[in-house]
Homo-oligomer: 335 residues x 2
């Protein structure tokens, strides 16, 4: 079951997503200039809206009003999409969500400016919560959480580039990249949602931990998918990681557990092969044989359980129930 | 007299610049990772630090403590440098402040990420003012001013690209670009400084107007320099605007005032010439003959006078004196 379906099928999630989609529409549709049009193209039709939904549920889980924090939730999506737009320039990806990426459709220059604009809008959206009734003290405190999440994202991008270039099989650095590049924005959404919703220090810390650990689990599971379900959904093997020499957790754990011969085969397949499909076949076989899938799955589950336990310290509510559900859902997607 | 000299030679300006330079050093020197090193390279040695100095003086002019708002002042420089880094990618400029630009030294990918990091740091710096004693209500209010300045900057970049591509001689759009692309960050620095310093609504509005108008005067004067002082300082004519087909205010006003023949020559020189120096000679002659320099100088002076008058509504202080001095200095640079 795809994650967006599992999310939407959960009671109460679809209305939250619709709130965010409407807010994005209100902010960006019908804008007068070229920049509005590019930003709108990048945002709508929306993706899973996972980060804004986490922000709304984090706010509600601590007793906050989702309508008051709605601008910040829309902003969380803008920040996320900004990172996708700039990533697609860096990775020279021409497709995003099944459509031409911004850099492919509008060119690199407009893509740089649109990404920058969406980062600034992330913060303008946060400021807008002053007008929807969130006290200034919460807005000021959330500002730090969001800005540091953004800085961590950039550090993660930089560290990932360094890791890929180094060709090291380094689990600790892989986890560090996942925490910075992926989990930081989940953490920023949950932490800022809890702050804006008026949570206590303990509640904010719990939701911050929830965000960081669910985000890490999300990334580990994402990297596992290439070795779990090839061909089943897309009809073709998922060669992109192998092709780009990305040393993901399953490969790192296979390298740790493998024989000298398997290690050599992994290195050859990742860094010296010109046939991506054949390389994926080799890597997949070794990843499976060495128990790396089981080991990586176990790590994802450990992070997801930490997330679940963190959120169970909050009082029971429909939002808390959804948050615990998400902790399971992110590691049980089968593509 | 170069603007940095005229700034530093003014009583009290050099200590402010040194405060900011020290704060940037503290934030970015000795950072552990590759991203810190790139950001540090882009920030130090510093430029004129005009925006942070304006922020500090705006805070002081309304009775604020410059040390409390110092993180925000350093952040204003980070935001400005972020825009330079991304601009240099867009314009494929290999030189910045007499050294290789970030994109030239580190490549486009690292330059995108470093610019993003510095935008996030602009906001992290603002949040840091909570720890230096600025009340949350001011931080939250300043957030809106800074975020909207950033959005305007992006709109200005987008509009300038559109104006250049259209080859229109359009003074209204030129001014709009100057207000958005250049003046917005001056405005953001002055407005946020006034807010963080605890200014009244009237004082904040006065410094906001000051920032927007001094920034507009600054840009108009910048575009005039190509026709005022060729060869005198750099030893070579300033052909870059003509080469890039940038339709700046002197050219637009010359086009408005010129004969049909002069208009045709301007269009040919800007858009059809392959010899940039010759084209500059033609454009300079027509700009001078049509009185466009006088007219553009008059417009710059009008904006600078509005800035000066705005700041004169504040109580007398050394900061107010420096701010009025800057309003003159930005249009009296002779290169």
């Amino acid at each position: 079951m795809p994650v967006q379906d599992s999310l939407i099928q959960r009671d109460g999630v679809e209305p939250l997503g619709q709130l965010v989609a409407d807010e994005l529409e209100r902010r960006w549709a019908g804008g007068a200039d070229a920049l509005d049009a590019i930003c709108y193209y990048s945002l709508v039709p929306t993706g899973k809206l996972f980060r804004p939904i986490l922000l709304l549920d984090s706010a509600q889980a601590v007793g906050g009003d989702p309508v008051a924090v709605l601008p910040a939730a829309a902003g969380a999506e803008c920040g996320h999409v900004a990172s996708l737009i700039h990533d697609d320039i860096i990775d020279q990806d021409d497709l995003r969500r099944g459509r031409p990426s911004v850099q492919s459709k509008y060119g690199i220059n407009d893509a740089i400016v649109a990404g920058d604009a969406l980062i600034f809008d992330l913060f303008a959206s946060l400021a807008e919560c002053r007008r929807t009734g969130v006290p200034d003290s919460r807005v000021a405190r959330a500002l730090g959480a969001v800005a540091h999440a953004g800085l961590d994202l950039c550090r993660g991008q930089s560290l990932e580039a360094e890791l890929t270039a180094s060709r090291r099989f380094d689990a600790a650095t892989y986890i560090q990249v996942a925490i910075l590049k992926t989990a930081a924005f989940f953490r920023g959404a949950c932490e800022s949602g809890a702050i804006l919703g008026g949570g206590s220090s303990e509640q904010v810390a719990a939701l911050r931990l929830y965000g960081e650990t669910i985000g890490t689990a999300f990334q580990i599971h994402d990297d596992l998918l290439a070795y779990l379900s090839k061909s089943e959904v897309t009809g073709k093997p998922d060669v992109s990681d192998v092709q780009n020499g990305r040393v993901t957790l399953p490969v790192i754990l296979a390298h740790e557990a493998g024989t000298p011969d398997e290690r050599r085969q992994l290195t050859d397949a990742l860094f010296r092969s010109s046939d991506a499909e054949q390389a994926l076949t080799v890597v997949t076989r070794i990843v499976r044989n060495t128990g790396a899938i089981t080991a990586a799955t176990h790590m994802a589950r450990t992070y997801a359980e930490t997330a679940r336990n963190a959120v169970l310290t909050l009082p029971p509510s429909p939002s808390r129930e959804r948050l615990t559900f998400f902790a399971d859902a992110v590691i049980n997607r089968d593509y």
